[in-house]
Symmetry: C2
Subunit: 366 residues, 2 copies
């Protein structure tokens, strides 16, 4: 990797992935005077509508990756399943942020949990499961209920099963076994929160107020600010997110999801998972922060100082899934509503089509 200096406006940021996150990253880069180049195998990528520079090619197309990397000043990505081989080809030509270590850790649940544990971050009890008898031993040690998950390529609830009985275990292993798995102790959590943390090239760290997240059918539905947790718990979650970013020598915006198992004087916060990218539960920052998670990601990877994460008002972010996008124009008449539409042609079931930031009570004072 070549040495890195703060990027000047007019530089080009390469983005792997052309979905809504790549699109919103590109819009933020444009705000800072940067050009962007989107690399995505899907010719219908929504991010292609916001820049004149695109490459339609597979992530295993080494020649296309080299040409792409050679024509940009820095590369980032919108999803954590960028193949490590792809990242390596890029990094031979151009700085890649976040670095390959963040990908390696976040692509594998087991590697991630081991990394977090070593970093002193609390996670739910877990055991690696390869063979059928690993599962029996894991259940004996962790107990039921528990959740069996593939270690790789799971998202939005895919590749996981909740086990309440031995019969569930039998069936689940039949359905998703044959690849590396992890059994996680079932956490009777009160709520799910997430922290968006940003780390700069110089190691500076900023984070945003924790969001309280509600999932429907394993897909994020709403993020609400403020979360109904104590100030101490919020502070602790932000500190933990910062520790994770530092332990990874991370550069950019990262999402950290937590289970809040109790919230008294000593709130129990367990990290569920980390995402080495801008995160759906941070979209609220667009409406009520001077610097949103997208701009801060661009600032970080460009070596610029990080921006102000102060929250100027209360806000609820609501995802628009599938056909829910149809009413957007009508709903925008609601006071305090800031819509974001991703420009996807087809509103398939379960597909994230846009989101609404509904700004409610302003803070009395920040």
């Amino acid at each position: 990797m070549t040495e890195f200096h703060p990027l000047r406006p007019g530089s080009t940021i390469g983005i792997l992935g052309g979905g809504q996150l790549g699109r919103m990253l590109s819009l933020a880069a444009s705000q800072l005077g940067m050009k962007t180049h989107i690399f995505c195998p899907d010719a219908e990528s929504p991010a292609f509508d916001v820049t004149p520079n695109k490459t339609v090619a597979g992530y295993d197309d080494v020649a296309a990756l080299r040409a792409f990397a050679g024509g940009v000043d820095v590369v980032t990505y919108e999803f954590e399943n960028v193949p490590l081989a792809t990242a390596k080809v890029i990094a031979e030509h151009t700085p890649l942020f976040p670095g390959p270590r963040a990908l390696e850790v976040s692509q594998d649940r087991l590697v991630e949990k081991r990394f977090l544990t070593q970093a002193g971050i609390a996670v739910a009890p877990y055991r690696a499961v390869t063979r059928r008898d690993d599962l029996d031993r894991a259940i004996a040690e962790i107990g039921l209920p528990a959740v069996l998950k593939t270690t790789r390529l799971g998202y939005d609830g895919k590749g996981q099963r909740t086990l309440r009985t031995q019969e569930d275990a039998e069936r689940a292993f039949g359905e998703i076994g044959g690849v590396e798995l992890v059994l996680e102790g079932f956490i009777g959590f009160e709520r799910e929160i997430s922290v968006i943390v940003v780390r700069g090239r110089d190691g500076a760290i900023v984070s945003y107020d924790p969001a309280e997240n509600v999932h429907v059918d394993h897909i994020l539905k709403t993020s609400t600010l403020p979360a109904s947790i104590s100030a101490a718990a919020a502070e602790k979650a932000r500190a933990m997110a910062g520790e994770i970013a530092s332990a990874l020598d991370y550069v950019g915006t990262m999402g950290v999801e937590f289970f809040v198992a109790s919230d008294g004087d000593a709130p129990q916060l367990l990290v569920n998972e980390i995402a080495p990218r801008v995160h759906n539960s941070g979209h609220w920052t667009q409406a009520v922060c001077v610097t949103d998670q997208f701009e801060n990601h661009i600032r970080a990877i460009c070596g610029w100082p990080l921006g102000d994460t102060t929250r100027l008002a209360d806000v609820v972010m609501e995802n628009l899934i599938g056909a829910e996008i149809a009413d957007t124009a009508k709903r925008t008449g609601t006071k305090g509503l800031q819509p974001h539409v991703y420009g996807k042609a087809e509103a398939r079931d379960g597909r994230k089509m846009g989101h609404l930031n509904l700004v409610t009570l302003p803070n009395a004072r920040n």
Copy 2:
């Protein structure tokens, strides 16, 4: 003009003009899921970096205008000097917002002043000046000091001269005479303010808090919120801006500049000029409003409901002129600072290269 229905995401917005305003309009359109197509004669236009769809052609290129208009769902513009012939060609094929009437009025200072006067809006005393003896008569009636201006194509102080003596009048007429002129009474104003007003297709009107503007060398340097005027004056300015928008049957965002000649119980507000477009003195809305002036312009021309103009915090917008752009990355470390860089290759003297929104004290309550 064909009948107009609310535009659906995925529609294409044509923008005449590829400068920073066109660029920021395109970014706002992308937020709402719209595609954009930029038409500009300058091949180096900064707006070309934020969309894959561009036409490089002159505003008198009828074939290019027809192809452009035929390929988009609505057309808008970033500057008021769109030739009326150009507007007419566009409007034959595609809805054009704001309409030709707004262009006609704002392109000619004399037409504008007559329009405002007829609409019951106070302006500085003025006289039309064509010949040398018109000027003598105007000076006799209005007095000195006064300001002599070309009626057309003046901006950033170009085409105007301040007259304090008969000798000034002699020289100024020699320098800028030969075209239609207007002599304006010199207003001993306390401050300059502006109101950004937005009018929807349905006639709904919203406006933003007045900004207090400081010009340096006839170029806007800062816009400060709140302006140091009374609540009554702010209310009156917003009402006047709304009346102007209604009188023009305007659709979109408009900037209205005022002189505040006094600010007691009966503040005297004189309209200096109107701009039928998003306006430099409204850039602060990007940092502290749920819906900024760009999004509201796109909402308006698309027939969507208008958005919330509540100001969530105090803010100062500072233009970065010419070489001032060089320090931007360093300055972004300032708390509360939101930078916008236009991506112009060359930082020429007097050229607007970017702006900074510095968010200061939040409002106690909105």
